[in-house]
Symmetry: C2
DNA sequence: GTGTAATACATCGTATCACGAGGTATTAGA
DNA sequence: TCTAATACCTCGTGATACGATGTATTACAC
C-alpha cells in the first residue's frame, strides 16, 4: 500500500489495536498485519508520539523473564478514533470525486 | 481535515481535477475546494512532482495577456488513478478494522 | 551444547512532503 | 489610485515513515 495513503491511518490503527485490550509492540504489529504492515521502527515512533499526545499510557511488566511495555488507550485516544470516523465521511466524498472524474467525461 | 490523511489523496485529486479537461493551477484549486482545500505552494509542489513522474504534461498558453500553464493528464496519470481505486478497497478494510475495534469490545 | 529463529525492545539518519511566508506581474473594478 | 483577484513561483521548516542497526532473552532443532 502506498506510503502516503497509510500516513493518516497509522496512528488511528495503532489506537484501534489497543482499544479493546492493552497490548505491546510486537503483538500490535502482528494484529495489524492482516490490515496493514508496519515496521518496528515505525511502530515505536508512533507509540512515542501517541504517548506524548497523551492518547495512551505505558506500563512495563515482566513476562517470561522478558520485559514488555503494555500500552493502554486513554479518553483522548478514544476521541481520536471518533474524530477519524467523522473524517471518513470527507474521505468518501473525495474518493467519489476522484472516482467520478476518473470514469465519466463531462 | 487532518494533514496526514490528506497526503495520500492530494496527488490523485489533482490528477482527477485535470482528467476530463486540461486545467491550470488557479482553476485546479478552485475546482478542488469543495472537496479539499490546498494552498498554492502545495499545489505547485504537487504539479512539479507529477510532471517529474510523467503523470502529466505542461503547455503554456496566453490568456488575456496573462500566461497560463495548462496541465494534461498522461496514460501513466490515468493508471495512477486506477491504482488508487484498487487501493481504496484496502483503505475500506482498514477503516472497518478501526471502526469495529472502536465500537465493540471483544 | 551450539546455532538459529523468534520475541521484544530501542536509536539514528535519510528522504519525502505539505505548507506558510514571501515574491513577481497583470487585469478589473471601486 | 488603490485594492482585490488572477496567475505564477521559491525557500525553509517541521513532521514523519522506514531501513539499518543494535541489545538481550527464550525456544527449539541438530
Amino acid at each position: 500500500m502506498d506510503v502516503q495513503l497509510k500516513r493518516g491511518l497509522l496512528d488511528v490503527c495503532v489506537l484501534a489495536a489497543i482499544k479493546s485490550e492493552d497490548s505491546y509492540g510486537y503483538k500490535i504489529i502482528k494484529d495489524m498485519k492482516p490490515y496493514m504492515e508496519l515496521s518496528e521502527s515505525t511502530l515505536y515512533t508512533i507509540l512515542k508520539r501517541l504517548e506524548g499526545a497523551e492518547m495512551l499510557t505505558v506500563r512495563t511488566a515482566a513476562h517470561d523473564g522478558r520485559l514488555r511495555k503494555y500500552y493502554r488507550i486513554t479518553a483522548a485516544g478514544c476521541r481520536r478514533i471518533e474524530e477519524f470516523k467523522s473524517e471518513w465521511a470527507e474521505m468518501m466524498s473525495i474518493y467519489q470525486f476522484v472516482s467520478r472524474e476518473g470514469d465519466e467525461h463531462a
